[in-house]
């Protein structure tokens, strides 16, 4: 019962590569501030020129995340946003016309509690193309990888500047794309990056034929533009989640909701404008 067929994520990277473009990959926390607004935000992301979207599952103990995404998780968890709920939101956005490939970003424990088989059936049915589990290093990922392959869902690994000799082994088991962590640390905007990050990413590129994306800390169109020169994808997370946070007062009021959504759109569009 292996699922076959084209994976939307692979297709998108192929198309962009043919056009010589880099994917802009926003991350948002699902259900922040509420499921309906997340659907609206997904529509805006696509309209603003996002190519792939990372759907963050809120978690009580997000080890790899800085304060901005921690706060978003807390806001979403007040509404009991579970994995099935996240997938409902993703599907609702599809029904509203969103065509972006979905990459689900979740810590391992919520996956484990659903049961691995049930989890993959759910994400497959919801049209998820890729999966990132930040606390599941490849040593612990065999069973998840086996099922992910079976369901044709790409298990995307993270590599960090500290991975060194591990990179070769990690890319060997990689699917979809390689997610390079820009610097040693948790998620969150960074004013600048160490020069060595460029060399690190280039060295990863030399070891794989898969697309290579960079994330953690990227927040401005200058940074997006810089990394677009040599990366296949650029992830912007905390900066967008913070923008959503800043816009909360507008989003919560029906009279100003459109205005808030427009601000989020403009922020992402402006990241993209450095992406051309």
């Amino acid at each position: 019962m292996t699922k076959v067929g084209l994976n939307l994520l692979d297709q998108t990277f192929e198309t962009l590569k043919a056009e010589g473009k880099t994917a802009l990959m926003p991350f948002i926390t699902m259900g922040d501030p509420d499921p309906e607004t997340t659907v609206e935000i997904l529509l805006q992301l696509e309209r603003a020129g996002a190519d792939i979207v990372e759907l963050g599952v809120p978690y009580s103990d997000p080890l790899a995340d800085g304060p901005v995404i921690q706060r978003a998780s807390e806001r979403a968890l007040v509404r009991q946003i579970t994995i099935p709920k996240c997938l409902e939101i993703a599907q609702a956005a599809r029904e509203r016309g969103v065509k972006l490939p979905y990459v689900l970003f979740t810590y391992y424990n919520p996956v484990l509690q659903l049961g691995l088989e049930s989890f993959f059936e759910l994400v497959y049915d919801a049209g998820i193309s890729g999966l990132i589990i930040p606390d599941l290093p490849y040593e612990e990922s065999q069973e998840v990888l086996r099922l992910a392959d079976q369901f044709n869902i790409k298990l995307i690994p993270l590599v960090a500047p500290t991975s060194r000799d591990r990179v070769a082994r990690i890319v060997e088991y990689a699917r979809g794309f390689i997610y390079c962590v820009s610097s040693v640390g948790v998620t969150g905007e960074r004013a600048s990056f160490h020069q060595s990050v460029d060399e690190f990413i280039k060295s990863v590129k030399e070891q794989t034929n898969l697309p290579v994306a960079v994330g953690f800390g990227i927040s401005s169109h200058e940074q997006v533009s810089h990394f677009s020169e040599f990366c296949d994808g650029v992830v912007v997370g905390s900066a967008i989640v913070r923008k959503i946070e800043d816009t909360l007062p507008l989003l919560k009021d029906e009279a100003t909701k459109e205005q808030g959504l427009l601000q989020i759109h403009d922020f992402v569009a402006q990241l993209k404008s450095g992406n051309s």
């Binding site: 606390d135 500290t162 962590v181």
Partner: protein, 399 residues
């Protein structure tokens, strides 16, 4: 019985290394250094010297005669870890990891702390070894344990109040791990319990096994035989695993872990991971865990800040599943009653954590016979808790 953990850090299905990729090489580096020094006589001598001359080991195995009389059953001994320098067993592990940090050339150490005992122990060792020290402590706990906060500062450590989540031990652990992710190149994380990713549960157990090793020698001296039962409190479980481990093969010795039932295991306010938890991955390892059906970690509650933790060390989960150890819940009230009983019968004020172990013995000892022997791990002294005991007992009209 096979040796645990295996090379993947597994205790049966439990343990492992569930951490962000950024930390993986640091964990391997730590494991390799630990293995290299573990059997190095020089390293062992340095640790043993400090345990003896600095911390005052070995700690006494004291026959609690009046408590025994009072309960009218088994003969009760107390392993006096409360008599260690800094007042708890935590120093055993802090000395071990501190010296390992120094050998590895790390100048900066970090630690998490709940009640403050591990924080104080780490700050102490950092002062002794000339290391820069940062301790992460839930903001809620900094209020409950103000004295320990001041103590750490006095020792030259920086105390970082953690404002995220429930602002207790679990969040202090998260924040210490996040800080380590960001500063892994020059920082050594002195983890205080037998929890977290491999190799920590194994390493902490090995640094704490001195409790059980001494107990074994001492009880053979005083009783000429092994005890029927060992009883120890379990939060993350470092004092308990240190006490249990040297006895695991001795199947005649019952191993009893005592967890915090808070206001009761049928309320929302407890830390009874073994009684109410299910298997999950939390803070780097697979173990039992208090969580909801969708894998969100539930807040724990205990009057004792050191037991106020929704997880437990993976080796305990393993011992439970293979039915080698049993785990029982004790409520805040039962622990406080036991604390007062031990204070009045023996003149020893135990830490609230250790009082949970005493409370379980209050339940078990009377049904045992005079020729049976129980050893309680009295993991820490109660000085740090006097204020919170006062607040509670006045509120409940216990005194």
């Amino acid at each position: 019985m096979t040796q645990v953990p295996d090379e993947h850090g597994r205790f049966g299905p439990f343990g492992g290394r569930y951490v962000p990729e950024t930390l993986m090489n640091a964990l391997f580096e730590l494991e390799n250094s630990y293995k290299q020094y573990q059997d190095d006589p020089d390293f062992q001598n340095e640790i043993n010297y400090l345990l003896k001359q600095y911390s005052g080991r070995e700690t006494p195995l004291y026959y609690a005669e009046r408590l025994t009389e009072q309960l009218g059953g088994a003969k009760i001994y107390l392993k006096r870890e409360d008599l260690n320098h800094t007042g708890a067993h935590k120093i055993n592990n802090a000395i071990g990891q501190g010296i390992l940090a120094k050998r590895m050339g790390k100048k900066k150490v970090i630690a998490e702390t709940g009640a403050g005992q591990h924080g104080v122990a780490t700050a102490t060792v950092a002062a002794l070894l000339g290391l820069e020290c940062k301790v992460f402590m839930g903001e809620e706990d900094t209020k409950r344990q103000q004295l320990n906060v001041f103590r750490m500062k006095l020792l030259g450590a920086e105390v970082v109040p953690v404002m995220s989540g429930t602002r207790t031990l679990k969040d202090a652990c998260n924040e210490a791990l996040r800080y380590w992710v960001s500063n892994v190149q020059d920082t050594f994380y002195i983890l205080g319990s037998a929890t977290g990713p491999h190799p920590y549960p194994m390493m902490v157990r090995n640094f704490q096994r001195i409790i059980g090793d001494e107990t074994r020698r001492q009880i053979l001296e005083s009783e000429g035989r092994l005890p029927e039962m060992l009883v120890a409190a379990v939060g993350g479980g470092s004092n308990a695993i240190g006490m249990f481990y040297p006895f695991v093969e001795d199947t005649s010795v019952q191993l009893v872990g005592v967890e915090a039932a808070g206001r009761g295991v049928d309320t929302e306010y407890h830390a009874a991971t073994m009684t109410k938890g299910t298997k999950g991955v939390f803070q780097g390892s697979m173990s039992y865990l208090l969580q909801d059906a969708f894998g969100q970690v539930l807040p724990a509650h205990s009057i004792s800040a050191g037991l106020d933790y929704p997880g437990i060390g993976p080796e305990h989960s393993y011992l439970k599943d293979i039915k080698r150890a049993k785990y029982y819940p004790i409520t805040d009230k039962e622990a406080l009653d036991a604390l007062q009983l031990l204070s009045r019968t023996e003149g020893i004020i135990p830490a609230l954590e250790s009082a949970h172990a005493v409370a379980q013995v209050v339940k078990l000892a009377p049904s045992m016979t005079r020729d049976q022997v129980i050893v309680i791990c009295l993991s820490g002294r109660g000085d740090k808790d006097v204020e919170s005991i006062m607040a509670y007992t006045e509120g409940e009209g216990l005194v």
